[in-house]
């Protein structure tokens, strides 16, 4: 198949899947079959594309030109490939998990759920493969809108409130700041294309460039940099598969991915480094890392704690982008991958605990480890990977981020990373510890609670094994990250 066809199919297939899901709504088994087949095909497709991309093939095509000079165009480069791989591979796993979860939990409106899910994946692929800011913005907004019904899924007052915050902040920042930043870029340079080395250099006074970068940093609300992070905890009212794939991987990673794209291909790391454009902003990101970790410690609700942990971890990636040095960018790109696998494992486990025992609070988990050993082992692996210990994948990204801080002689930032790792230990590790070693309160024994349905366990085993495998074989992702950062 030609490169162009392959790329178009990857973008269209989830949409076709969504239509198929709606058509087969009367028979849940067929409907779930459609989801599984579509997601498997997507995983195969991204793997094929990745292989051919690594062999040096180029993937690029222009769909249409809505405005003179502004096109809807797609092109694969290393960073987008990396993001598409993560999202594409994890969608299959999440689909398996979701079937177990949605049935185990007897959720309503499952057709809407699976259809909106598929549209979200299509939007994510669109973001990963866009060749310019305009195309990216189009799919960025589509992703917000497609995930809204998933957030408001339950339809009760809490879900509606969460949905409102979600939509308000994401649309608000994107229209109010991100779009403005895109328009200013277009106005200054007459281009919105992602180009090697950036397009802004020479078109903007470096003093103003910092302001423009701030518009991007806060406008890309999906990156959840404080103070625009509130939508992420609000999104936790969604069913757990949504929190797992979309709000730990696709949506939030789309945010930091966009930030990285802007850093590398719109500003250009040389332009940023030589003019110290991000010097002040980097402290906001550093503060987000620490504050979010501290807030996470205060949360007793498991999903809320994980949400704040995600906010903190996202700012690691933003930090790497703002450092703009080679090691920083590699670390940021690697962290997209490593955090994805680790955090999705944690969410899978949280969902399994909820389905099996209906427990949402950390303080209720004492002693549950014996009843659900697989779930809590997976949780432990995810935790250790997030903390960044060997032999887990999370070590590599922290390593390069730390290196980036050293490289730019920002030792205070290195300290921030260290402190944050300690905080990670303090708010994540007690969870599996309680489950395994504490006694249940008031001497209860969990005899009636067993592991969650098999599909959910399978998903957890896959992602937690991936955390370990990625320690030993980070190579494909490392190569992509290196390419994105401008070669080795």
């Amino acid at each position: 198949m030609s490169a162009e066809v392959l790329l178009s199919i990857t973008l269209l297939l989830p949409l076709l899947g969504a239509i198929g899901i709606v058509i087969t709504r009367r028979s849940p088994d067929v409907r779930e079959g459609v989801t599984l087949v579509t997601s498997t095909l997507i995983a195969v497709l991204v793997l094929v594309i990745a292989t051919r991309f690594m062999e040096g093939e180029t993937f690029a095509f222009t769909l249409i030109e809505p405005l003179p000079g502004v096109t809807i165009a797609f092109e694969i480069e290393a960073l987008g490939m990396l993001f598409a791989l993560v999202a594409g591979l994890l969608w299959v796993v999440t689909s398996i998990y979701a079937i177990g979860y949605m049935r185990g939990h007897h959720e309503k409106n499952q057709t809407r759920f699976y259809a909106a899910f598929a549209v979200s994946i299509s939007a994510t692929m669109g973001i990963a493969f866009s060749a310019n800011l305009f195309t990216l913005f189009l799919f960025y907004e589509l992703l917000t809108l497609a995930t809204y019904p998933l957030v408001a899924h339950a339809g009760n007052a809490e879900a509606k409130k969460g949905g409102r915050v979600y939509l308000g902040i994401l649309l608000g920042t994107s229209i109010g700041l991100f779009l403005l930043a895109i328009l200013i870029t277009w106005f200054l340079t007459g281009s919105v294309d992602f180009q090697e080395g950036g397009i802004l250099s020479g078109h903007i006074d470096p003093a103003w460039a910092g302001l423009l970068y701030a518009l991007f940093l806060f406008g890309i609300g999906k990156a959840a940099v404080m103070p625009f992070h509130r939508w992420l905890p609000a999104a936790m009212v969604a069913p757990t598969p949504v929190s797992a794939l979309l709000h730990a991987v696709a949506v939030v990673k789309a945010g930091v991915f966009t930030l990285l794209k802007v850093t590398i291909y719109i500003f250009g790391s040389d332009f940023i480094l030589s003019n110290d454009i991000t010097g002040g902003l980097i402290w906001i990101v550093a503060a987000t890392i620490l504050i979010a970790s501290m807030v996470a410690m205060t949360k007793d609700n498991l999903k809320a704690r994980l949400a704040y942990s995600t906010i903190s971890q996202l700012s690691y990636i933003a930090l790497g982008a703002l450092l703009a040095s080679k090691a920083g960018l590699i670390g940021a790109s690697m962290h997209i991958v490593m955090h994805a696998f680790a955090k999705i494992t944690l969410f899978f486990a949280a969902g399994a605990i909820f389905v099996a025992s209906h427990k949402k609070l950390v303080s209720e988990l004492n002693g549950l480890g014996r009843a659900m050993p697989i779930t809590f082992t997976a949780f432990l692996i995810g935790t250790l990977s997030i903390i960044g210990l060997p032999p887990f994948g999370g070590m590599w990204s922290k390593w390069y981020l730390g290196l980036g801080a050293v490289e730019t002689a920002q030792l205070l930032l290195l300290a921030v990373l260290m402190i944050s790792s300690l905080l990670n230990i303090m708010y994540l590790l007690p969870i599996p510890m309680r489950a395994f070693f504490s006694k249940p309160k008031n001497g209860e024994h969990y005899t009636e609670i067993a592991e969650a349905p098999r599909p959910m366990l399978l998903a957890m085993v896959i992602t937690s094994s991936a955390c370990i495998i990625l320690f030993f074989y980070p190579d494909p992702f490392y190569r992509l990250a290196g390419l994105a950062a401008g070669g080795f």
């Binding site: 249409i64 809505p66 189009l138 229209i175 328009l183 106005f187």
Partner: protein, 491 residues
């Protein structure tokens, strides 16, 4: 035929109006009126085609040479306007059948279609003519017809709204006429082109300045420019559904066109810049965007909500005019077209709801989204276009408006434009939440999807909203040419 195209466009609906009035009751008046509206749309498209490829059309009425006779001078701007009006009519008239049968007393149906045709004729006339007094004549034709149309609304408030509009509209028209008279006294001509040639010599006269001010205020009233918008929310709310569709998508747009013509063609470009008109337009536009959008958020009646949103959208157009640059005027023209599409689609979808449940109050539509999925889909897409989400026509408008503002270094305007979009998120979100996420009421369970005859026209506009979000060769292409004509001629 080719030669008389421009005149036929105005005359056909004008002649059809009395014919329709005497037709027997039943569906015949509708059929004739719809046929005429489609015919007009075809003629308007041909006219635009002809202008784009063969240049300006000049037509002298009755063979009397200008400046003595009335002259039609059709350039890109006229042709674009006429196409918007005629195309919306061609979609709204077929839509009218069921909606009007339900909302309007049977014996008044022929008169209703007759008034619709008169209104169409008047609006097309304003867009076509090159004579400044002739504009007034057509303005009165369309306005009188619309007062009558609004008063046909289901509720009794329709009468007071029509009366309110009558008073405000007449003041506007009178101001316009006074202004025209004052300028005529100094130039001795009513032909726009001729006036444009003579005016530069007499610009310093206070009479001319006064005339300019009268005309501007008069048009601002017809245009419902904030704070002269008070007639609009009531008129839109209480008019029959299809009348709201038609007026919202065309009447204020034609007034915007008048303003552009007077500011840039009749008066020299530099004159407007020497008066406070531009600054006033910018200030009124910004205030309108914010105040009207905030009002929209607090409305419980959907038609009123959308009416306030229209006032806000007019603010965007005023901003574009106020920038007085080629890109600003182009942005206004683009938004003119796109806003006709989005408001047309939204009011049609609301009309479908009224057709089914007889109300469009927030508390009556809870959960209707599930019972009327196609209507709901139309509201979602129309709403997204109103917000300016990429992939819709509304985004193209915002794109050009913000670029025009950036070009002027107008940071406050930029912020206001984007903030206005955010307010639109709030009121569109409120609408969608009521339709979909509020618990389904007993009554709304039994509601059926709207009939095809309402859905097809609605979705025609909905699809146009998406189409013109991707293919902008018609909108942006023509609007940029039109802006060049407006600003170029007056140098």
């Amino acid at each position: 035929m080719e030669n008389h195209l421009s005149l036929l466009l105005v005359v056909i609906p004008l002649i059809a109006a009395p014919v329709v009035a005497v037709l027997p009751r039943g569906r015949l008046p509708w059929a004739v009126a719809s046929f005429v509206s489609v015919l007009c749309a075809v003629l308007a498209a041909m006219q635009l085609w002809s202008v784009l490829y063969d240049g300006t059309i000049i037509y002298e009425l009755g063979g009397w040479a200008a400046p003595w006779g009335i002259e039609y001078r059709i350039d890109e701007v006229n042709a674009f306007m006429a196409l918007i009006v005629a195309a919306i009519a061609a979609i709204a008239f077929p839509y009218a059948l069921l909606s009007a049968e339900q909302e309007i007393p049977e014996e008044k149906i022929p008169l209703f279609y007759s008034a619709m045709l008169l209104c169409l004729s008047g609006l097309l006339g304003i867009s076509q003519t090159g004579d400044i007094f002739n504009v007034f004549v057509f303005l009165e034709i369309s306005s009188l017809a619309s007062y009558a149309l609004i008063s046909l609304g289901r509720q009794r408030q329709a009468l007071t709204s029509a009366y309110q509009y009558l008073i405000m509209g007449t003041i506007g028209a009178t101001f316009y006429l006074i202004g025209v008279g004052l300028i005529y006294s100094q130039t001795g001509t009513l032909n726009m082109q001729d006036m444009a040639n003579i005016l530069p010599e007499v610009l310093h006269l206070k009479t001319v300045e006064t005339g300019f001010a009268f005309i501007m205020i008069g048009i601002a009233l017809k245009l419902a420019l904030f704070p002269l918008h008070l007639w609009l929310p009531n008129a839109y709310t209480y008019a029959p559904s299809v009348v709201t569709v038609f007026l919202a998508a065309t009447a204020t747009k034609v007034a915007v066109y008048m303003m552009l013509r007077i500011l840039f063609t009749v008066f020299p470009y530099s004159f407007a810049l020497s008066t406070p008109a531009e600054e006033l337009l910018i200030v009124a536009g910004m205030a309108g965007i914010i105040v009207a959008s905030v009002y929209a958020i607090y409305q419980d009646d959907i038609k009123r909500l959308l009416a306030y949103s229209s006032v806000a959208q007019i603010g965007y157009m005023a901003l574009g005019i106020g920038f007085a640059s080629a890109s600003g005027v182009a942005a206004t023209m683009i938004h003119l077209f796109n806003h006709a599409l989005m408001k047309g689609a939204l009011f049609m979808a609301i009309g479908a709801i009224i057709y089914r449940i007889g109300s469009c109050r927030m508390e009556h539509i809870h959960g209707l989204g599930k019972a009327m999925p196609w209507t709901f889909g139309a509201i979602i897409i129309g709403g997204l276009s109103l917000v300016g989400v990429p992939g819709t026509a509304g985004f193209i408008s915002k794109w050009y408006l913000v670029l025009a503002a950036l070009e002027q270094g107008a940071w406050i305007s930029t912020a206001v434009i984007l903030f206005g979009s955010l307010l639109a998120v709030v009121y569109v979100g409120k609408l969608i939440e009521a339709l979909y996420f509020k618990p389904v009421t007993e009554t709304s369970k039994e509601v059926k999807e709207a009939p095809m005859l309402l859905l097809v026209p609605t979705w025609t506009l909905v699809i146009a909203n998406i189409y013109f979000g991707f293919d902008t060769s018609l909108t942006v292409g023509v609007a940029e040419k039109a802006a060049a004509v407006l600003l170029g001629e007056s140098k």
